[in-house]
């Protein structure tokens, strides 16, 4: 039994079958990559996991509990965090404030009316936020207005925000897209480190094969809304169908 | 007492009128008249109605040796704003009296305030029975006539013109003035044999009355009574005419429209729609008594137009207040109240007039007016049909339409 069990999930948009009968099982404490051509339905699948979309059929179980029909915030509180394909951060707030919000959410839950304590007094939260920024080597930008970060930085911030929640399942939708090579490598290292240190499962969508093959322990290839194969990285690399439909000659 | 001018060389009046909002034009005319009155009290200009006024206590040297000054404020035709403006006049400018207030809601609100603050309130354009009925106050006085008087004056003329067998439909502005006017007119006409088919309330300032007018068409009524004023009345009568009401024959009779409370400015705004429509007024510049002539001349020369009945009311109230102070020899509100209560006078355009002590309501003749069929100029829009003698519009102080209130004690304030 995996920590995440997706069974027979289908999703249509009008006449378009974005997902049809997807089955996926992610084992606890592994890095599971989902790859596939553009428009294969990878992001759609992720959307079904976090409550952004409700699948037409099928079931999604996380740690033995169904996530379907729950609000996104409930799903997050169950321990699933997600990094989006285009960065979703609090653009009006500073980098440090961005960092504090997930930490507060983790500490206080979905709602807490702590209107009369001062943020400055939340030493533990600030410390932790600063620590995360260090780890992402963004500490020097902590007082920047996050909306004016370059895109690579926004993405790193978002990853840091998700990691700070110590989720049990981390969903990454192209986390290193647009990131400089050096930072991509740092991110790979960070993810590896986190996976080792903590009890965390990662599902990652990536088109950058360097990232995929450095991290993934299992890979699912999705094409036209259905899983084509699921296997180890080595086997996927050599899979002719995958090469043809997705990787091309250059990989 | 509040705002005692003491040994100061001047004394301040407060003129609180609508300078913005639907009655702004009336407010402007009131201001003009009040300014004129102050001028006359201070001995400038031609003296206007001071020359014809039966009391000669005012001699054109100001008031008790003090020069009269005034401040103005904007009521915005809202109770809250009017009270704010009045309060600032009292607290900041130190006025000894407040004159003005169009719309009965505002007048009642400000009257209550003046009572509490301990100054005199001379209510301006307020026609609701409540102002000197259930909301009357010892410190407040009203020179203007009221809804009951309109009914009493109008009904006989209507009966004469339109017969005793009529079915009336009321459209009524949904506030104190509308309610009391509806009640008064309905009672007066029913007493003469008319039947009231329906009474409909319309919100203040709706603009488009068509949806209230269409039901009239098939209601079997043959008279429409518009208990509206100002902009509302202009809109409702125009729309009633557009819907062909005045060309209609119902129950074998010509359909008619009545506007119980008229004003010149309103008539000007309504244009052709008011031709031949009956209504009542407190005063009109076409009267021929000496007071009126003096006032029209004085006002007309200064402002290039005849005064409206709003102007006359506010002028007269300013003069009456000043006269009462002069006669009492004191600015103390209680002395003024005493001087005004039961005061009888003449020469201010309305003929012999009584300030009744029981409710502070003035009693005088009431005019019944009709929209002129063939106006010759811009100001010649209404004609006087009947001057209803005072006796006919009088009522007992405890008349049920005025019951429930209590003048209370006079309050001189701190």
């Amino acid at each position: 039994m995996g920590i995440l069990e997706v069974k027979n999930v289908s999703k249509n948009f009008g006449g378009l079958k974005a997902l049809s009968d997807v089955n996926l099982s992610v084992r606890e404490n592994t890095v599971h990559a989902i790859i596939g051509p553009n428009g294969a339905g990878k992001s759609t699948l992720l959307n079904c996991l976090v409550g952004k979309l409700i699948p037409d059929t099928g079931s999604v179980m996380f740690d033995g509990q169904s996530v379907l029909g729950r609000h996104p915030y409930e799903i997050n509180q169950m321990g699933i965090s997600r990094v989006f394909q285009t960065p979703e951060i609090f653009g009006d707030l500073t980098v440090l404030e961005n960092m504090m919000i997930p930490i507060l959410a983790k500490r206080d839950g979905t709602f807490e009316l702590n209107a009369l304590t001062s943020i400055g007094s939340q030493k533990d939260v600030i410390e932790r936020a600063e620590h995360m920024l260090e780890e992402m080597s963004m500490a020097d930008k902590r007082h920047f207005h996050s909306g004016s970060l370059s895109r690579g930085d926004k993405r790193r911030l978002e990853i840091a925000m998700c990691l700070s929640q110590e989720p049990r399942l981390l969903l990454l939708d192209e986390p290193t897209a647009g990131m400089a090579r050096a930072d991509t490598n740092n991110t790979i290292d960070l993810l590896k480190q986190i996976k080792e240190e903590r009890d965390i499962t990662i599902a990652i969508i990536e088109h950058d094969m360097h990232v995929v093959f450095s991290l993934a322990e299992r890979i699912t290839v999705l094409a036209q809304g259905t899983p084509l194969v699921e296997d180890t990285p080595e086997n996927i690399k050599g899979h002719p169908k995958v090469r043809e439909a997705y990787l091309g000659e250059s990989a | 007492f509040t705002n005692d001018p003491g040994s100061a060389s001047t004394v301040k009046f407060g003129f609180n009128v609508p300078q913005t909002g639907p009655y702004a034009d009336e407010g402007m005319d009131e201001l003009r008249a009040q300014e004129l009155a102050v001028e006359h009290i201070n001995g400038m200009g031609d003296g206007g109605m001071l020359n014809t006024f039966s009391s000669k206590a005012l001699d054109g040297t100001g008031l008790l040796g003090k020069k009269v000054e005034f401040v103005t404020g904007d009521t915005q035709t809202k109770s809250d704003a009017a009270r704010a403006s009045a309060k600032s006049m009292i607290e900041k400018d130190g006025v000894i009296m407040i004159n003005g207030g169009s719309s009965s809601g505002v007048a009642i609100a400000v009257q209550g305030l003046c009572q509490d603050a301990g100054i005199i309130f001379m209510a301006g354009l307020t026609h609701s029975n409540d102002t000197t009925g259930k909301d009357k106050k010892r410190n407040g006085f009203r020179h203007f006539f009221n809804a009951y008087m309109s009914g009493a004056a109008l009904a006989p003329v209507l009966a004469k013109q339109y017969g005793k067998d009529r079915r009336a439909y009321h459209l009524t502005a949904d506030y104190t003035w509308g309610w009391t006017q509806e009640e008064s007119i309905a009672a007066a006409t029913e007493a003469l044999g008319w039947e009231t088919v329906q009474k409909e309330r319309t919100p203040f300032g709706v603009g488009d009355y068509s949806s209230y007018i269409t039901p009239v068409l098939n209601s079997g009524a043959d008279v429409l009574i518009l208990n509206h004023y100002g902009r509302d009345m202009i809109n409702s009568i125009n729309q009633a005419v557009q819907f062909g009401l005045r060309d209609k024959m119902v129950n074998g009779k010509q359909f008619e429209i009545v506007v119980p409370l008229y004003s010149e400015l309103m008539a000007e705004g309504a244009g052709e729609a008011i031709k031949g429509v009956y209504g009542s007024m407190n005063w009109n510049w076409q009267l021929t008594d000496e007071g009126t002539k003096a006032f029209v001349k004085s006002f007309g020369e200064k402002y290039g137009r005849p005064p409206s009945n709003s102007a006359q009311t506010c002028y007269v109230q300013t003069v009456l207040y000043a006269d009462a102070v002069a006669r009492a020899g004191s600015f103390n509100p209680c002395a003024v109240v005493e001087a005004l209560e039961g005061f009888e006078f003449d020469g201010l355009g309305n003929g012999p007039t009584l300030y009744r002590a029981d409710d502070h309501q003035c009693f005088k003749d009431v005019l019944v007016m009709k929209g002129k069929e063939n106006p010759t100029n811009q100001f010649d829009i209404l004609e006087i049909v009947d001057i209803t003698p005072r006796a006919q519009v009088e009522y007992a102080p405890d008349h049920p339409m005025f019951a429930g209130g209590d003048l209370g004690e006079c309050n001189p304030g701190a």
Binding site: H71, T117, S118 | Q19, D74, G105, Y175
Partner: protein, 403 residues
Amino acid sequence: MFGLDKKDTTLLIVVTALVVLAPFILNPFPADSALAQFNAGYPDLMQRFVIFGIFAIGFNLLFGLTGYLSFGHAAFLGVGSYAAVWMFKLLSYNVVPAIVLAVIVAGLFSVLIGYVSLRRSGIYFSILTLAFAQMSYNLAYSVLTPITNGETGLQVYSNDPQILKGDGPDVTHLFGLEMGSAYTLDIGPWSFVFSAGYYFCAIFMLVAFYLAIRIFRSPFGLMLRAVKSNQQRMAYTGLNTRPYTLAAFVISGMYAGLAGGLMAAMDPLAGAERMQWTASGEVVLMTILGGAGTLIGPVLGAGFIKYFENIFSKINDSVLHQWFSFMPDGMEDFMVFIVHPFIGKGWHLTLGILFMLVVIFLPGGLVEGGQRIAAWLRGRGKKPAGGSGDPEHHPKPAPHVAE
């Protein structure tokens, strides 16, 4: 101090000083000078300043922090006023129960409206709140007349029960301290009025302001700003935005209710027009004019608008003639003619023009004006420090050369 950092403490102290000394500050001109017209230090207007200040501070807690623009906030103020006047009618003229009930009723009413309206965002939310408030207004004006006394406004009549009145005063009071009582201090030609009612309201205003600072600086405040910034991210971070927005809405509704209750406590009459959209619009304008999302801005905006409404509307031609009387006659008339359209009945025109000037030249509202003046003053004292952040990549801009 009080759990505030240094900057906020300074702000609070400055505001407190201003509020306490308002009778002096607002009456800078000798009582009989020509400029006495511009004095605003009389009880009614001072009370309005602080009461509308409370209203605007509360509104800003919702709008400034969450970005939800309510166009129906006056409804809560109106409901608060009605509740307070009913307390006067039923119990006594003591203001305490009136104000307590005003806040509670406004709070409950805002739970109701907020719960429904917050199901939508953006302009749809604004129109929902507008619709609720207009409904309340129209009903208060018509079918609810038995409760509201319609257009005349709800008043206390001498035959009302007032079961706790005993032989207490016939005016609003705080355990015997009459709200209308005032002490006048004459110093030479100056005259300063200290009104019990004003200081009563001022205390509430300071508390309201202090609480607003605390909320702004709290984790809750941070969450509200996050709501404004990105609701999607919030939800995927495990936060339920709805209770946050609802809490902000209700707190801000209670502020409005408090303002309404205080209004009734100062002047025991509640008119329906307090709930009309124009009244809701006014608080929106106050907040934006002062600077939405800033702490002190709403208060400044409220003061600005109320000052114009109450001071400019009272300047008439005879006052103008007085001012310009030193000039030769022709000149005097000319000046009066020029200024005439902007004062008295033209005060709206002046206000309209000022609205436009402020938004055009001070995008951050009056607060930005203040900041610019402060920066200018400081700039004259010492040279500005280098730009913020990393000096390598963000040095001060070079003077514009081309274009």
